[in-house]
Amino acid sequence: MHRLQTLLLPRLKSCAALLALIGLTGVARAQEAAETVNRWGLGEPASDYGYRFTDLFWLITILVGVSFVLVLILIAIPVIRDRARPGHKASFDHGSSLHDKQVTTVISVITFLVLDAWVLVIAMQDLREAYWAYPDGDDEGVYEVQVLAQQWSWNFRAAGADGEFGTADDILSNSELVVPVGRPVSFQMTSKDVIHALFLPEMRMKKDVNPGDLNKAWFQANRSGDFTILCAELCGFAHYQMHGKLTVLEQDTFNEWEQEASKLALAAFDSEDTESQWAWDWEQ
């Protein structure tokens, strides 16, 4: 302490200045922070199956949290209680008795059932009922979108008013996608160059987009609004810029939008420009 004093006292002024500077920076920082919105968690899901992720996530969090706290307690007790000290001796236990083996087995089985099997069953349900329950192509009301990813952009193609892919009124868009609310949106996706991944965070949907292969994914929006499209698989140096906008419209607005978009697509259609017509037959 004395040394600290001899060090600091002669430099009192500069110390004060330094402290003031730090304080000022802090104030500036706080003001800066007050202006930007800081997000911690994840907003409400915007898709019908989105709640499944949140529910399962927090279930696992509770299970894992309890287990981890248990582990911490079991570390803390011996660390505090059984520290080496004169006269203290460790108990001698190889843990190889039949009893120990039985306890180990029982605890393993219980942990597996509680931590894993429970989660596994729910996850299987989720997969079968939601994530992998792709809408049937024959279903009425499925909004189909073909995705052609590229470095570093998303090309979307919807069938347009006539419901057929590869026709003049296909709605083409780049990094912007418009879909209706309350209807399953079904994607078939491929890539021109490298692997991308279509990530709709608010919809809790993610699927890789591979070159030379068709991948599929789906979601159903539960509310209208503007949402985010991100790329989740490293696709080159501009990976971080490969984002887009997903607009979900109410059914009526959407219908009108689709009619208009188809008309504008017709206006832009150039039948001789075959190279630009990349649609494929919708695979069932």
Binding site: T36, F53, P78, L120, K192, P201, N210, Y240
Partner: protein
């Protein structure tokens, strides 16, 4: 067995320190090599964190020197290079040489009572191969268009000529191939040595758990490194010769055509066992260190060995969990999910044994012990969060977000690193004949574990909030810009973490050359390595010892009051 002839000690500088066949010298070569790379990889991590918190700002201090063309600012391509090489370097050139190269070489012959590795020449070649591999990797940083930018996983087709035209990617494949070759040489050597050269009485049931873990690691090395080796050969051919193993027909100009997903299968068949290659030695160290410093036998020795073996076997059949969003068939996906979850059973048995080893012990909280307990802590965090990623329902969202980054850094990076620090501080007195400073060691431990836990737990929060990994600048997408405050916090903590490592560097170098001279058995441990004089003589044992007791017979009731340990060469008093 091989004790019939002892070569004379080499005298020239080259044969003694450079091309030495002595496992102890090779261990030290691996150690310095690994530590240097760990430092390089760490600096890269700091630059990555700087960029994430301050996108577009020049890297302080070293930026101007390293990136003159951009005035010290990272450009997106350089950023990709950095995280790619950070991963590659830390895994292949940092932790693998340290844990398996250095401590495999140091521990195995000394702990099992052998005079050297069974194939000393192969042992030397193993080091020089990884050295050449490291040089190729280092050189690739300076070729036109820079080093590999496709991530340490280097998924095709981004890693083929479709996505990367520079030489760096090709050199990366060569480097990984060479490093893999080195690991295979080491693995064969370790396995054979452990099988053939155990001292009389050193039964499989008396092997220290470190040796068991290194044995199982070697098995994984020998089985799975060839898979990445083959993937690298194919990638090399795709890039340099124009074949199309990983390029689909639609992207090939002159016919042909392969499958980019094939690369992912090959990579992860290796990649998942690689996680256990790194973590198994750490588990082995922890099993032993806990027992040594709790002055208590390792609880459930057989169960621990069984659990580690089970993990070794299971690690081969769970790799699909890295590919849940690739488009696996539902049946495959569900099978891999189930298998992955089964791994938690052996891991849980290990935890149970560790905690039980601590229970009612006589805990000497020395630095190596702190690191061992640290491994339980960080691996507990990392392992438990694995459940989120094994479950497809949650993995669909969390895949390729910062959640994954936090998870694997805690499991395979932090646990392996803590294990390494534990082992370094534990064997330091025997390796160099000097003691490390305990106070600095404790400062290093607490200064590491606190910010480290903070950084990676924050990454769980980032991942849950939807922040994708491998983004150069998260503020470019509106939805992510409001997460930037977390990035800033993580960076501050990471810088603290980085700064604290300097304490270790100082402590390590100072103690190595000027530290107080150590006793021969400062930790009062009975294993064969600690029965040796310091420095350990060339050819280790004048006479191969005979082993009578197990490695963990601490506080045996028959030992009396004056000591609580017994060398493995002594018989327990009856």
């Amino acid at each position: 067995m091989s004790g019939d002839h002892i070569h004379p000690e080499p005298t020239s500088f080259l044969s003694k320190y450079v091309f030495s066949h002595d496992h102890k010298v090779i261990a030290k070569q691996f150690m310095w090599f690994g530590l240097i790379w760990l430092g390089i990889g760490g600096i890269m991590a700091m630059m990555i964190r700087w960029q994430l918190a301050n996108p577009g700002m020049p890297v302080p201090a070293i930026g101007e020197f390293l990136f003159p063309r951009t005035n010290g600012v990272l450009d997106p391509a350089t950023y990709n290079t950095l995280f790619t090489m950070h991963g590659t370097i830390m895994i292949f050139l940092g932790l693998t040489p340290l844990m398996i190269g250095a401590f495999g070489n140091w521990c195995i012959p000394l702990m099992i009572g052998a005079r050297d590795m069974i194939f000393p020449l192969l042992n030397m070649l193993s080091f020089w191969t990884v050295f050449v591999g490291g040089c190729v990797g280092f050189y690739s940083l300076f070729v036109p268009m820079g080093a590999n930018e496709a991530g340490w996983t280097s998924y095709a087709t981004l890693s083929t000529t479709v996505g990367a035209q520079g030489l760096g990617e090709t050199l990366w494949a060569v480097a990984v191939f060479l490093i893999g070759a080195s690991s295979i040489m080491g693995g064969i050597n370790y396995m054979t040595t452990i099988i053939r050269l155990r001292a009389p009485g050193m039964t499989w049931g008396k092997l220290p758990l470190t040796v068991w873990a290194l044995f199982l690691t070697s098995v994984l090395n020998v089985l799975f490194i060839p898979v990445i080796g083959s993937a690298m050969i194919l990638l090399f051919l795709d890039r340099a010769v124009g074949t199309s193993f990983f390029t689909p027909a639609s992207l090939m100009q002159g016919g042909g055509g392969g499958d980019p997903i094939l690369y992912q299968h090959l990579f992860w068949i290796f990649g998942h066992p690689e996680v256990y290659i790194l973590i198994l030695p750490a588990w082995g160290f922890v099993c032993d260190l806990l027992s040594f410093f709790a002055r208590k036998p390792a609880f459930g020795y057989r169960a621990s060995v069984g659990a580690m073996t089970a993990v070794t076997v299971l690690s081969a059949v769970v790799y699909g969990h890295h590919m849940f969003t690739t488009g696996l068939s539902p049946m495959l996906g569900e099978s891999f999910m189930l298998l992955t979850m089964i791994i938690s059973v052996p891991a849980e048995i290990l935890f149970f044994n560790w905690l039980h080893t601590l229970w009612k012990g006589n805990l000497r909280l020395e630095v190596p012990m702190l690191w061992a307990i640290g491994v339980i802590f960080v691996f507990g965090l990392g392992g438990l969060t694995g459940i989120y990623l094994a479950t497809i329902g949650t993995d669909i969202f969390l895949h390729d977000t910062y959640f994954v980054v936090g998870h694997f850094h805690l499991t395979m990076a932090a646990s392996a690193l803590f294990g390494t620090f534990g082992a370094l501080t534990f064997w330091f007195p025997k390796m160099f004949g000097r003691r490390m400073n305990q106070t600095l060691g404790k400062i290093h431990f607490w200064g590491t574990i606190v910010p480290l836990t903070f950084v990676f737990c924050l990454m769980f929060a980032m991942g849950y909030a939807g922040m994708p990994r491998r983004y150069f600048d998260h503020t470019s997408a509106e939805w992510l810009a409001d997460l930037q405050h977390m990035n800033k916090m993580a960076t501050h903590a990471a810088f603290l973490l980085g700064a604290v490592q300097l304490v270790f560097v100082y402590n390590f170098i100072k103690s190595r050359f000027w530290g107080p001279v150590a006793e021969e058995n400062p930790w009062e441990v009975g294993t064969l390595d600690w029965s040796m004089p310091t420095p350990v003589p060339y050819y280790n044992f004048k006479e191969i010892p005979t082993v009578h007791t197990g490695p963990h017979e601490f506080s045996h009731p028959a030992l009396g009051e004056d000591r609580d340990w017994i060398p493995m060469t002594e018989k327990l008093p009856t």
